[in-house]
Amino acid sequence: MIKMTINDRQVQVDASATVLQAARKIGIDIPTLCHLELDCFEVEHRMGSCRVCVVEIEGRPNLAPACCTPVLEGMVVRTNTMRAINARRTILDLLLSDHPKDCLTCEKNGNCNLQELAGELGLHRILYSGEMSNYPVDLANESIVRDLNKCIMCRRCETACNTMQTVGILSGVRRGFEAVVAPSEERPLSDTKCVFCGQCVAACPVGALSAMNRTYDVWRALNDPDKTVVVQTAPAVRVAVGEEFGLEPGTIATGKLVAALRHLGFDKVFDTDFAADLTIMEETTELIGRLKKSENLPILTSCCPGWVKFFEHQFPGLIHIPSTAKSPQQMFGAVAKSYYAEKIGVQPENLVVVSVMPCLAKKYEASREEFSRNGVRDVDIVISTRELASMCKEAGVVFEHLEDEDFDRPLGESSGAGVIFGASGGVLEAALRTTADWLAGEDLSNLDFVEVRGMKGIRDATVTVAGMELKVAISSGLGNARRLLESIQKGEAEYHAIEIMACPGGCLNGGGQPYIHGDTKILEKRRQAIYREDANKPVRKSHLNPDIQKLYQEFLGEPGSPRAHELLHTKYNPRNNF
């Protein structure tokens, strides 16, 4: 611990702290833009490049960036002098002088750190106007829009993509006024091995990276009298969407969510959790099959499209080990366009399946060729949690005041196992619940595998199911996935089953979720909400979901049947690793 003074107040902080941390400790805020810390994922982005956090330090000739200046014994800091405030204002002025001031029509409107800063610093006029950057907007993929004219060069996306995800798409390119962050040769993302996880979008403080907005397509479908429009909503959406309406982080808003979707005009409101249960049926069958033959292990989960694209590019040698089960979103689509369409007597092309996802990669996933039949996509439109919130606002749905409603059946019925798909470790735990029951041949009462839960990037555990020791591992965040896979390739570790999620923490931290702006406490609250939701469910094992059982009886036959294979399984393609 060291002692120092900030704005004439004494503060004691850890010797490894920064001036910013010390100031925040005593309730003094210093604005930041480029700085990003995701403590629970050990991500620390201390670029020190935007310079809006400059403060005065006695004895130093220049202003110092609070975010990366280490504290020293006896240091005397002033954060609010004329000199510091004017400097910040000038920095902001410069940033805005090379920034399209399009707030009113910007994806980030109301959620933008730069906009907020401009509000706080009360800059009323831009003094230093001049030439502005001019980049073409990258609209060439399903998931992400890159409008680098709004980029402030904080490089947070670079850290997200390269350090955290180790996908390695983004790099600073060129230099000086022309410097910007882009893929190689400044190609569009669609030309690269980007997995569309959207973690760069989540990291971007401004509107330079944003989600491809599909709300207009949804409105059009909803207003088309020839179409039947059904919606599925992913597990992680219900514990986050409330944040967009001022509800406490960690609020379970399932009932309100259903009500809101009905307000918007969807014909049926279904649940991806139903399909998550279905996924477990297929994946567990596969797992038990492999365990029995003791071959092709470990099995890797495959419900995260970001992860799927990642291994297709970067670990093509391993493409035989992930489960062939489709993701819940795509299983839902496939079942909706066959079983359900048949049931209600609608042609698949007249049934529009909309997904509400925490995820940007799901937008891309739904567009993969193998996920359509006869030119009809299984999932037609994917919107993110944030897009759903904005639709509600557009339509005047006062979300926070809605009465709870229930999902429609049959594709809305789910177990607690389906819900926990939204958190890292959930898929594996859901699979373990079913595996244990099936291997033991009974309905076991011990179904909480708490050892696989948590936020840590790589976790492993040995669990005993029906007298069998299963070694399992969980990783979230692609950087961790890479480390785990490499250790397996090197033979340093052996597992039976591994769950991998592209986003650190799992889907609850997906690229389409409400922005957390570095506040990882929000993630923990979402996580706890998911497990609360699970605990509240009457049915907590996938194979006990009555509508799932019915689906197999009426339509699919057995898990792993030829029909199930045709509809619910997929193939992977090795792709270029550049």
């Binding site: 490049s49 400097a87 920095i91 410069l94 790099s171």
Partner: protein, 614 residues
Amino acid sequence: MIENAKHLREHALELGMRQAKGPRTRILVSMGTCGIAADTEPVLAALREEISRRDLQDVFEVVETGCMGLCHSEPSIEVVDGVEGTMTLYGNVVPGQAAAIIEAGPYEAAGVEVLERTWYCPENEENTNGALQARVVLRNSGRIDPENLDSYLIAGGYQGLARALTEMSPEEVGGEVRESGLRGRGGGGFPTGMKWGFAAARKARDKFVVCNADEGDPGAFMDRAVLEGDPHCVLEAMAIAGYAVGASQGIIYIRAEYPLAIKRLRKAIEQARENGFLGSGIMGGKFSFDIDIKYGAGAFVCGEETALIHSIEGHRGEPTFKPPFPAVSGLWKAPTVVNNVETFANVPAIIRRGADWFKQIGLPECTGTKVFALAGKVSKVGLVEVPMGATLHDIVYGVGGGIRDGREFKAVQTGGPSGGCLKADHLQTPITYETLRALDSMMGSGGMIVMDSDDCMVNVAKFFLDFTLDESCGKCTPCRIGNKRLHEMLTEVCAGRGTQETLAKLKNLSHTIKDTALCGLGQTSPNPVLSTMLQFEDEYREHIEDKKCRAGVCRHLISYVINDDCVGCTLCARNCPVDCISGQRREKHEIDQDKCIKCGVCHSLCKFHAIDKR
């Protein structure tokens, strides 16, 4: 292979005797990049040819040396006669003069330009003739054959290293350097011994010694001259530094634009390894040290030490915030000493001759010498090395011979793009890191550009910003966008569109950039603006209020007009690139002002002074 320090001394002695017994006259030919560019090769060939034609190989030895620093008189050669003891410097030599030079031998050849030998005093001589220059850094450049290790050994090479390894502990070596008062010549002036001390104090498996040979300052070529003319001295210094801080690996980061320096360094490293000055168990002792070369790729900011480290690591050359300083956590997070070439070049002499000797040179608070690349409108452009505390006047008028073409001195720009301009009032100021900083300028690496009344100070400031804009890494806001805005405002002023508000904004923004930029590049980039605004306020005012550029440089503010002296010779009309001059032969011509691009061709061609520049 040199087995130990004693062996080295004996070997050097023996080499010296062998040389004394060799040809009596040595002809030193300045073969740096600069000399070669000035066509020294044919002169060299002619000298060799002449000697062999006359069969005088036993009398004359031709030595290709590095740069002598006599840019103004390249090709230059020096004839050193072992018997008469004479040393004759010839300048602007052409191949045709080879015969006369050989003919004259130790005596001054007729018809060849002889340069004053008082031009400088070498390190190993008493300065009896009041030479303004004292050569420590450049002690060997232009005097030895840089590609020949023996040549370096005769000049006392590797004696410093030998002394350090055999007579001193690492702490004592560091102490000697600290005691000498040597400060970093890369621009910052940070005490070298202190820097070494930080690195020495760290416990680490790996430590590195890095030589910063990036020399990106446009118009500076001191380091190049050292590397081309005396590469071994840098190797020796790095090994000494390695010993002092406990590093076993050295890296020279050199800009790719210096092919000759690279070639000579590679050769020197090889020779040093072969002879036991580098590698494992140097001079038969326990200390091991080796050196690698890494190349830059055209980025000025890579001269900044953290950027340089990133560049070595294979990254974009973007600086990072300090602390941590490289001496604590540098290359691959290991303690790393980064020093400039010129800083290193002082070290062997300091260890060989002691801190006390070094301290006598220069001023107490600022010891030793400084090399400047003197260029621009001065008569004798060249590389000069003067004791710290010499005045601008000494350099410009003493060494530099005053302003060329008898024009009037206007300003000296020091410190390159980080520096500022000094004017006539400052000619008597003794030059130190501090005095220059007090004048909003910088010592920088040693570029010194002399300007006369033909130079527009607003335009000069704009030129440096052009440079910064191009070379900014783009990482931090004030430098990336701020310098762009400064440049735009200066462009406005040069175009006659500036206002009082422009001036106020220029000043404010400059101060903010200085105050907030991440690295030294941005922190100093507004210096040329601030210092010209301070020293030449009236010129700015004229651009804004009178829409005039007194130097006639800013094109928007000048026009070319043909006066009545025109005799109608048509020369201008025939040469105007845009054909905007009309007129009949033998009649007064006229310039179409709307079309004229103000290239000035007509003005410089007219033999009748009939074109006025306004």
